[in-house]
């Protein structure tokens, strides 16, 4: 096990490795855990995942570079991903992206100088019925109009939420939803990575 990782991440790595008949299958989950450990997918992170899976660092780099969600450069505390695929495009996604670029002062693919917010456009977020849609650390806001998108950025800057909760953002800034969201969601993201517990980033709202 990678000895300098936090005990929690070491435990998670072992848990993930135990789930698969072959260790190589753990490459993707371990890349998420490594990114959580290092802040993003560093060269060291890829070497560590290689050691854990028995693959070579080159094989892991080939995997990490294939998937857009593995960020191999530093990423802001809040990763704001604007869906610009067809259904969101038809309902004004380009104006939402422009508003967010204007409000943050950075362009698509960049991070604010204070390291707080990264902005990117993404292909379909699966929120087509709630277009235009944006996610923050992969927690979704649907029906986000340009003015509300500006307010969302301001809120991230000022409130600096420790846990990014979809329900909270939807209530404050969202509009049309793809479907009734139904049950209240109690967990959210604490890093710009998918907040899924075995991968190490989900956290329940304390309130």
């Amino acid at each position: 096990m990678i000895s300098h990782w936090s005990h929690e991440n070491q435990r998670r790595a072992q848990q993930v490795l135990n789930r698969y008949p072959e260790k190589r299958s753990a490459a993707m989950p371990l890349l998420y855990i490594a990114a959580h450990e290092h802040g993003y997918v560093t060269d060291d992170a890829m070497r560590e995942v290689a050691a854990l899976t028995g693959l070579t660092a080159a094989q892991i780099q080939a995997v990490a570079s294939f998937y857009t969600m593995y960020k191999r450069d530093p990423v802001g505390q809040y990763l704001v991903s604007v869906c610009t695929s067809i259904s969101c495009y038809l309902r004004g996604a380009d104006a939402v992206l422009a508003a967010i670029e204007d409000e943050t002062g950075v362009l698509d693919g960049e991070t604010t100088p204070d390291g707080l917010v990264s902005v990117e456009h993404v292909e379909c977020s699966g929120a087509c019925g709630g277009a235009p849609a944006v996610s923050v650390n992969w927690e979704l806001v649907e029906g986000l109009e340009p003015d509300k998108a500006r307010e969302l950025i301001t809120w991230l800057r000022e409130a600096k939420p420790e846990v990014v909760l979809g329900d909270e953002m939807q209530m404050l800034f969202g509009g049309q939803e793809s479907f009734d969201w139904g049950p209240k969601e109690i967990e959210g993201a604490i890093a710009p990575l998918p907040a899924f517990d075995p991968y190490g980033t989900a956290k329940a709202d304390e309130q």
């Binding site: 299958s25 995997v63 998937y67 067809i86 993404v122 379909c124 049950p183 969601e185």
Partner: protein
């Protein structure tokens, strides 16, 4: 319309349809109990085959037939649930995972019993952490209650389910790419044959089924395959969750029975066009599907076969509606840009072809189109998919590249005059500014 199958629980109990308590309270896990206690695995498979259910992920392949491809003697076998979704316009699996995850867990358990599988994986796209959390909580509850794990309900049948998150790659929805990804590789599709049922995960026999397909299994076992087959037209049996998006008054996920017309779906179910504008075109089955237009298709039935006969597909059940304000070149460009971005890069016709289609559409969109671009778009498309027919002829390992030609062929077929009108006349034509800046987008 027949009563709901997949959405019944979430509509009746919106606040807690995802919990085990509510699932049990509404008859949950009874079908699993029946299957394990009273049915042989082959009896369960026979019910699924009798239901005539066809895969809800895109290819509409009969599920029971797919199951029948497993070689009888090779073990272990694996069951992999495809929750990669990702087809632009599609958001049904997200709802099924978030709002009724036990329905899927029970469907997996029953299916695994029928297929003699002890290990199942659910591949969920990385952008769906909330659906993954909901499903994981359901799996945890099911383990605690004895519906998963060792010796389920005292039957001697064992099953483990593992969720695997993707990394943001549409191509992993293609079943062989999904298996590559699940093996810790780049999500590159593999040549078929061998089909996954023969050589899938770790080169072992593997069944890959969509989230929605397997979510139907508890109902099929509880009520019998024949009853499911009796719902709707013969070759489009059962209900289907359709994702409606675009310029509609009421976009959303709707569970429908095949056989209604597009007019019913767009104007009744979807509430009609926003601001009461005119309908211009729609994509009938996800971004890969050739478009339909009101003059030809509005009063035709929504069934798998009727759509196929008219040169398109129901695909993932995603309907993307465009009103008369839509710049069709802009819409086609956005669709092609998606395929260009998501091409895995293995096959030259797809990797190069989608890139060039995007560039040519981009320059037409921004007022720099050339008269020869009309022919060039069709020529490049023809090089990816010779003959430009549907279903598409293939020059590639998987259908991603050929799918990218669908929007191009569609705008050429129905809106060629609009495309031509965006191309400046050759005499006295606008030249690109020498400073390299782009002009104003025409028609935006």
């Amino acid at each position: 319309m027949t009563s709901k199958i997949l959405l019944a629980r979430m509509e009746a109990h919106p606040a807690d349809s995802n919990t085990l308590a509510r699932y049990l309270d509404t008859g949950g896990y009874e079908a699993l109990r029946t299957a394990l206690k009273k049915m042989k695995p082959e009896d369960v498979a026979a019910e699924v085959k009798a239901s005539n259910i066809r895969g809800r992920g895109g290819a509409s392949f009969p599920t029971g037939v797919k199951w029948g491809f497993l070689p009888p003697d090779t073990r272990p076998r694996y069951l992999v649930i495809n929750g990669d979704e990702s087809e632009p316009g599609t958001f049904k699996d997200r709802m099924l995972l978030e709002r009724d995850p036990h329905q899927l867990v029970e469907g997996i358990a029953i299916s695994a019993y029928a297929l003699d599988v002890q290990q199942a994986f659910v591949y969920i796209r990385g952008e769906y952490p909330k659906p993954a959390r909901r499903l994981q909580r359901a799996i945890n509850e099911a383990y605690e209650a004895g519906y998963l794990g060792a010796d389920i309900l005292g039957s001697g049948f064992d099953l483990d389910i593992t969720i695997h998150l993707g990394g943001g790659a549409y191509i992993c929805g293609e079943e062989t790419a999904l298996l590559s990804s699940l093996e810790g590789r780049r999500g590159e599709p593999r040549l078929k044959p061998p089909f996954p049922a023969i050589e899938g995960l770790y080169a072992k026999p593997t069944i890959v089924n969509n989230v929605e397909t397997i979510s139907n299994v508890p109902w099929i076992v509880a009520n019998g395959g024949a009853k499911y087959a009796a719902i709707g037209p013969e070759t489009s049996s059962g209900t289907r969750v359709m994702s409606l998006s675009g310029h509609l008054k009421k976009p959303g996920d709707y569970e429908v029975v095949a056989g209604l017309t597009w007019r019913d779906l767009i104007y009744d179910v979807g509430g009609g066009i926003r601001d009461d504008r005119e309908l211009k075109a729609w994509v009938p089955g996800g971004a890969s599907a050739p478009w339909f237009v009101p003059a030809e298709h509005l009063d035709t039935p929504v069934t798998i076969d009727d759509i196929a006969k008219q040169g398109s597909m129901i695909g993932s059940g995603a309907v993307i509606v465009m009103d008369d304000s839509t710049n069709v070149v802009g819409a086609a460009h956005r669709l092609v840009r998606f395929f260009s971005h998501e091409s895995c890069g293995q096959c030259t016709p797809c990797r190069e072809g989608t890139t060039w289609l995007e560039r040519i559409l981009d320059r037409i969109l921004h007022g720099y189109g050339r008269p020869e671009d009309i022919g060039l778009l069709l020529d490049v498309s023809d090089n990816i998919s010779p003959g430009l027919s549907w279903p598409p002829a293939m020059t590639t390992i998987c259908p991603l590249g050929p799918s990218a030609t669908a929007p191009v062929v569609s705008i050429m077929r129905y809106f060629r005059d609009e495309v031509e009108a965006m191309i400046p006349a050759p005499v006295g034509a606008t030249e690109a500014p020498a400073d390299g800046t782009r002009g104003e987008a025409a028609g935006d």
